[in-house]
């Protein structure tokens, strides 16, 4: 399968949050999904009338009982519990940009208690499926999705709490 994804053209003219770290500029791979800070948050939506939540902010399903509802941007809870987990032993195809050599990515579906929703994300580097269990508490972190000589492109990830 031909990899036709071009990072340069993708990033051209895009609004970017930039952070400089270890001489590399860090930017979200796509803007608007998470905050880049020590205690990172997922950026979700809250429906003003129903009070329900969604993630991502602009792509959530809505409650049919509140037809005129509007979404406002909110920061979602930082902690959740693993609902299930798996990995991808083979590199996912584009538009995923797989590292070479590829190390299997680990993916968790995490339930946020307050928002009562399950959100997918990679698990931070250094964890294998054997290290995870259903019910384990994790927090939102930011990790590198791919990088080039000047920049690291970031995504949200789930990080198991160290005590567990």
């Amino acid at each position: 399968m031909a990899a036709t994804f071009n990072i340069r053209s993708f990033l051209k003219d895009r609004k970017q949050t930039t952070v400089v770290k270890d001489m590399k500029i860090e930017v979200p791979a796509v803007e608007g999904f998470f905050t880049i800070e020590e205690e990172a948050h997922l950026i979700g939506g809250r429906f003003k009338r129903s009070g329900s939540y969604c993630f991502p902010k602009d792509l959530g399903g809505s409650d049919p009982n509140f037809p005129e509802d509007e979404v406002e941007e909110v920061l979602l809870s930082r902690f959740g519990k693993i609902w299930s987990y798996t990995n991808s032993a083979y590199p996912p195809p584009p538009p995923f940009i797989a590292a070479e050599p590829y190390e299997p990515i680990v993916i968790a579906a995490v339930e946020l208690v307050k928002e009562k929703m399950v959100i997918l994300g990679q698990v931070v580097n250094g964890y294998a499926v054997e290290d995870l269990s259903v019910g384990m508490t994790v927090e939102v972190a930011v990790g590198t999705l791919y990088e080039d000589s000047e920049r690291r492109y970031l995504t949200w990830m789930w990080k198991p709490l160290s005590e567990e």
Binding site: S9, A29, F33, S52, S62, K116, W156
Partner: protein, 395 residues
Amino acid sequence: MEDIAILGVGMHPWGKWGRNFVEYGTVAAKKALDDAQIEWNEVGFISGAITVRCGYPGYVAGSTMARALGFNGTQVASSYAACASGATALSVARGQILSGACNVALVVGADTTPDGFLAPNDGIRTDDTDWLRFHMVGATNPVYFGLHARRRMELYGATQEDFALVKVKNSKHAVFNENARFNKEYALEDVYSSPVVSDPLRLLEICTTSDGGAALVVSSLDYAKSLGVSDPVRVSAIALNTPTYPDPLIDLPYLATDSSATTLPSETGFKESIGKHVYEEAGVGPEDIDVAEVYDLASSMELDWYEQLGFCKAGEAENLLRDGSTSIGGRIPVNPSGGLGAFGEAVPAQAIAQVCELNWQLSNRAGKRQVEGARIGITANQGLFGHGSSVLLRR
């Protein structure tokens, strides 16, 4: 809603032939017309199931197939609902027949698939959840299958051996199916020696992508009778369900579930609602089902369907598998065709292929994989972006 008659079915064998999808669809359509003893020029409506991987001719599959069979002015429509496209195309044909717009309809779907993972079409679409799940997370289809398989292990104590046994069972069925891509009978050791794709699922437990084509010729019961067909296999019900908000289960291709913070999820889950719809429409229950073709995109998903279609209670699917109930010769054989594990998926043809198999089963033409005395059968299928489908057939 009234039943419609299935007059004929046809398939182009599944495989990795690498030829134009139109060829597979045409072969399947001609076989279905022959089976029905109907001339193409008698068909009043052609209902195509769309493929999005074969360029523009795939987007207008109905007219592409009509042209291949010879444009004759017949009415046409094309339907897309991901994996449920074939069931949608059948539903459109049923609507035409029952409204009196046509006597006979031809339903056809075919695909030529790329190797490897199914992936979004080229381009950058940061507002497309299907694009985002690949780019931002690397969540391929098997990732979702793996999440649900692990969840099943956690909730019900399912084991990797249970999942592997589904593959073993279905491969035994497929030995007798000339339309299946894989006719080999697999043992547990074969499954265990295949590499993990998305833990806990292995390569042999995840359906691959295939080329193939399937077609149905359907009519009103009155028209069937006028042709001298007094006891056809009938389509008694079709479900094309969307979920209800909030759906608490993570599903393809979303990054997150709905939130249940303010509204409780329905007591009937999305997949359960699919079977419920056809049972109510046909006036039967799960206890009446003699045979089922379910969407085993992964071996673990077949177990989920046993429960979602009401063949057993939640958590009991492994027992149903292990006591032989879902093997040919058991109480409720599931995937006598060999299922997707033996076919691989030809997306727009697959839901039609399920109906082809049940037609053969209910008309006692399934040869060595015949389910004895089968009178009522159900298909179940789910297409991403909230397309649940099921077809209930009876004789």
